[in-house]
């Protein structure tokens, strides 16, 4: 082999298993570059990316999967520690090269004046690198643009890089103002109203003892006021929703310290998420808050607040709110009970899923629909409304969302494809089981290789049998 002739440094020699030792031209420099990159890379992540190309790295893949699980809680903090991990060294050179290429691709893209959205989405569909702010930035751009079908300016972060700074600041101030308007507690509200009063009369004479001055507020606001316009009344109407939100937040990703520990950081995170959800509930009186919205918010907030760029991470709350609103605006109809049976409701989406399945695998469709009568409502309802956040662990969710966001036709379209792929991937198990087995399998979806799943999803042919093609 070439190894001996090239006199690779000790570390490098360990890094490359023999069978791939031939691809070492220019390797030395690459190695330096990698160590020098302050982002580092998630090796487990990259391995998964290249699994379908059959580099025969299954063995290592398993190891990294295990490590992934263990360090899930510190996902956001892995980047700086990367070079120290021993196990991290033995990865294939081509993976390193490809990951590196992807990272520099993205960075190049972001440094352009006008971002090529298609290219960004293409890169996203094969997985965005963790660490650094690349994923966060990419998501912000994609989420914003995919909802700008009416006007380019509707997007959160427009494709033109110059406008980013301005847009971010504008949005953050809008968010702060909204918070002030809607999230203030009534006593703080009344305190603000009293400021001008206080200066003129009230405290002039209150130095003296004696009867305290009274002000008639029968027509104004008071805590027991039952009027609709009363700040107090509105405040109390939301206490029930607030309790629900708090309860759900405590249950979000209980295995991750980022969300569920008692540390002040984790509490700050929960408080930020609570503000976002409450604000959303107040701005959308029709659907208010539905259990599960916290699960959709969690990956967004996580990615934005673990952004390596300090300034961006500090504004994670405002950014997550904006993106959360945009993301949900697409699927908001699913949450509204009255629309259940309409053409935009959840039932129609479920039947589209079945149509897709039928077009791709009639045997499985027949088995589920006719033989076992497994109604898609039993399993796919949660998949679709919560964008698959309840079916996989956070790391896989991030990867899947990369793919969902990469579809130029929108998140919902890709979501249906991924759901269909999920069914196809467990086809043999489904075919061999009865109603109870099928249901149990689909409601507790087994761990599978995410890259494989997404590959299947992308290969699915669209359902052209029905008239309503996706927008």
């Amino acid at each position: 082999m070439l190894r001996g002739k090239l006199k690779l440094p000790e570390k490098a020699r360990r890094a490359f298993p023999d069978r791939l030792g031939s691809i070492v031209a220019g390797f030395n420099e690459k190695d330096e570059e990698n160590r020098g990159l302050n982002h580092g890379f998630e090796l487990g992540e990259e391995l998964e990316t290249f699994q379908p190309n059959g580099f025969g790295l299954d063995r290592e893949l398993d190891d990294y999967k295990v490590e992934d699980e263990k360090s899930d809680g510190e996902l956001g903090f892995r980047a700086p520690q990367k070079p120290d991990r021993d196990g991290a060294d033995s990865v294939s050179f081509s993976d390193v090269f490809a990951a590196d290429e992807k990272r520099s691709d993205l960075e190049y893209e972001f440094s352009q004046k006008e971002i090529n959205l298609e290219k960004l989405q293409r890169v996203a569909s094969s997985g965005l690198p963790d660490g650094g702010g690349l994923r966060a930035t990419a998501w912000k751009v994609i989420i914003s643009s995919s909802f700008a079908h009416l006007q380019l300016l509707l997007g959160y972060l427009p494709a033109s890089r110059d406008l980013w700074e301005k847009e971010l600041i504008e949005n953050q101030s809008k968010y702060a103002k909204l918070k002030e308007e809607l999230l203030l507690s009534p006593s703080q509200f009344s305190k603000r109203e009293d400021e001008p009063l206080r200066s003129n009369k009230q405290y002039a004479g209150s130095d003296a003892d004696g009867q305290l001055a009274r002000h008639d507020v029968s027509t104004d606001d008071h805590p027991l006021c039952l009027g609709q316009a009363s700040v107090w009344h509105q405040y109390f109407q939301f206490t029930e929703i607030l309790e629900q939100i708090d309860r759900d937040l405590l249950r979000t990703h209980p295995d991750m310290k980022f969300f569920s520990s008692n540390s002040s950081l984790s509490r700050k995170n929960r408080e930020a998420m609570r503000n976002i959800l409450l604000l959303f509930a107040k701005l959308n009186p029709v659907i208010r808050y539905v259990q599960g919205m916290n699960e959709v918010l969690a990956p967004l907030y996580y990615v934005f607040s673990t952004d390596a760029d300090e300034k961006n991470a500090a504004n994670a709350e405002a950014d997550s709110f904006a993106c959360f609103v945009r993301l949900l605006s697409d699927s908001v109809d699913h949450f509204c009970e009255q629309l259940d049976n309409s053409s935009v409701g959840i039932h129609s989406t479920l039947s589209r899923l079945l149509g897709l399945l039928k077009a791709n695998d009639e045997e499985l469709w027949r088995h589920l629909e006719l033989t076992n009568k497994v109604n898609p409502q039993f399993y796919a309802f949660r998949w679709i409304t919560l964008l698959l956040t309840q079916e996989f662990d956070l790391h896989s969710i991030l990867r899947i969302w990369d793919c969902l966001l990469s579809n130029p036709f929108g998140v919902q379209e890709m979501l249906l494809r991924v759901c269909c792929a999920m069914l196809l991937c467990v086809k043999t198990n489904l075919l061999s089981g009865d109603f109870v087995d099928n249901l149990k399998l689909l409601q507790h979806y087994p761990k599978i290789n995410i890259e494989h799943l997404l590959q299947v999803a992308q290969d699915i042919s669209p359902d052209t049998s029905s008239f309503c093609l996706s927008p």
């Binding site: 009293d194 209150s206 004696g210 002000h215 507020v217 029968s218 104004d220 008071h222 206490t239």
Partner: protein, 192 residues
């Protein structure tokens, strides 16, 4: 932002059958965090009703209360404020500010809530504030028959207390607001 309801001297069933309906419609569970009651409820049913509005209920003994186990005085700390509770029939002369001030200094509280006179009062003196929520049912007192139903709701927010006085005058609910701040240091006496 803590809402505290100060209520008392209902004298149910001896002098009044029930709270006025307009008051009852306003007092719903879920809004109030504490209830402090000066006394003279007088029966257990009234105690249970108040408990249903809010689980944190504090009562002191009035001379007509059927339950002999209520204490004569009570102190509690809510937020930055120390509140004292006493029915008031023990303090003679009834309703006299100086005597109440003495009791307040004894209990060492910022706000003293006492009743018995069935007249709403809110006084400020150097040791603190004395609040009399009056009678919630408008029952006649040992002193007079001319009583308007009234109760008090305090919004304690940091060092500031907003006192909302609810009075039923000629069949209409009148709400008044009183604002005061506790000085940061107990010894200095100044307006903020």
């Amino acid at each position: 932002m803590v809402l505290v309801l100060a209520i008392g001297d209902l004298h149910i069933p001896h002098r009044a059958p029930d709270l006025p309906p307009k008051f009852k419609s306003m007092l719903v569970p879920g809004k109030i965090q504490h209830i402090i009651c000066t006394g003279n409820l007088c029966i257990k049913e009234v105690h249970d009703y108040l408990k249903s509005l809010c689980p944190s209920l504090h009562v002191t003994r009035g001379e007509y209360d059927e339950d002999a186990r209520y204490p004569e005085t009570k102190t509690l700390t809510i937020g930055q404020f120390k509140l004292g509770l006493c029915h008031g029939h023990q303090v003679v002369p009834w309703g006299d500010l100086d005597s109440l001030a003495m009791l307040q200094r004894q209990l060492d509280v910022d706000i003293l809530v006492s009743g018995h006179t069935h007249q709403f009062k809110a006084y400020k003196h150097e040791a603190g504030v004395v609040i009399n929520p009056g009678s919630a049912t408008g029952a006649y007192s040992s002193i007079t028959y001319d009583v308007n139903p009234s109760f008090v709701l305090m919004d304690i927010d940091g060092l500031r207390v907003v006192v909302y006085v609810y009075e039923l005058i000629d069949g209409e609910v009148k709400v008044d607001k009183i604002d005061f701040k506790k000085t940061a240091t107990a010894t200095t006496h100044s307006a903020n």
